[in-house]
Symmetry: C2
Subunit: 133 residues, 2 copies
DNA sequence: CTTCATGCAAATAATTTGCAGTAAG
DNA sequence: CTTACTGCAAATTATTTGCATGAAG
């Protein structure tokens, strides 16, 4: 629950923050100005600076994550367990794929070979979705 | 060889382009203004717009690739076979790891489960390198 | 009440564009 | 010669900051 997540991180519960989180949840992967434009429809006084500031806070609090994909604007998503982004270069859709075992396998293999302590992964596969083929 | 790569893509061979490619090669992963600043030392008339324009062309020609990492400026690298970026969050170093089999395995597993036709992958692991541990 | 968040405007940074002059093939 | 590239300046777009006001706890 969003209110609890904010509370846990000593962030005050404001309508703006809840609105931002609701937009991200609704779209899954959404850009900063999509968040802004969407919220402005119901709350015209919403400020873009507020979106920026809050995304920063909420990212630090690990409530949201940035999603950086090749040739795309930065997007945001709600933080969830490690997953792969499947991007369709035709229709632009982005879906999450949770294949924990495979990701874990890659991760530990990498760690073993490189001797890095791995904390996060960022994985995207770009191609054509079934519908667009 | 850079000249040949440009020629193959009907891009004229200019000192600026060669300088850009040489910088990228030298640093492995380099940001736009690092490229610009470095080249300007020996060629003070170098223009930032030229860097931007050429990175775009050379990316389309698949000579270079953009590298987008969490919480970092965009960087560029020479195009090479699929690999993983290992990022140290302490010292900021970025190294490439070529573990073709593992990447291929993940890729085909993804393709199988999702029915996507996968064309490219973008994989990063963020953690602490051996030296910084 | 006290602290923190918001919204606005201004500042800064990042990227793109148009165009005249110049270099590459 | 012809085409495409460069550099510059201006235009856009993206992001950050400071500060007065207002809302949350």
């Amino acid at each position: 629950m969003f209110k609890q997540m904010l509370k846990d991180n000593h962030l005050k519960i404001t309508p703006q923050r809840l609105a931002i989180l609701k937009e991200i949840q609704k779209f899954g992967h959404i850009s900063i100005d999509e968040i802004y434009e969407n919220i402005k429809e119901s709350n015209p006084s919403m400020s873009l600076a507020t979106v920026y500031k809050n995304l920063t806070f909420m990212q630090e609090a690990k409530i949201v994550d940035e999603v950086k994909l090749p040739n795309q604007k930065q997007r945001y998503e709600l933080t969830k367990s490690p997953h792969i982004h499947l991007v369709c270069e035709k229709c632009g859709s982005i879906i999450d794929m949770e294949i924990d075992n495979s990701i874990q396998a890659l991760r530990s293999h990498c760690a073993k070979v490189s001797h890095y302590k791995i904390k996060e992964t960022s994985i995207a596969m770009i191609g054509i979705c079934p519908k667009c083929q």
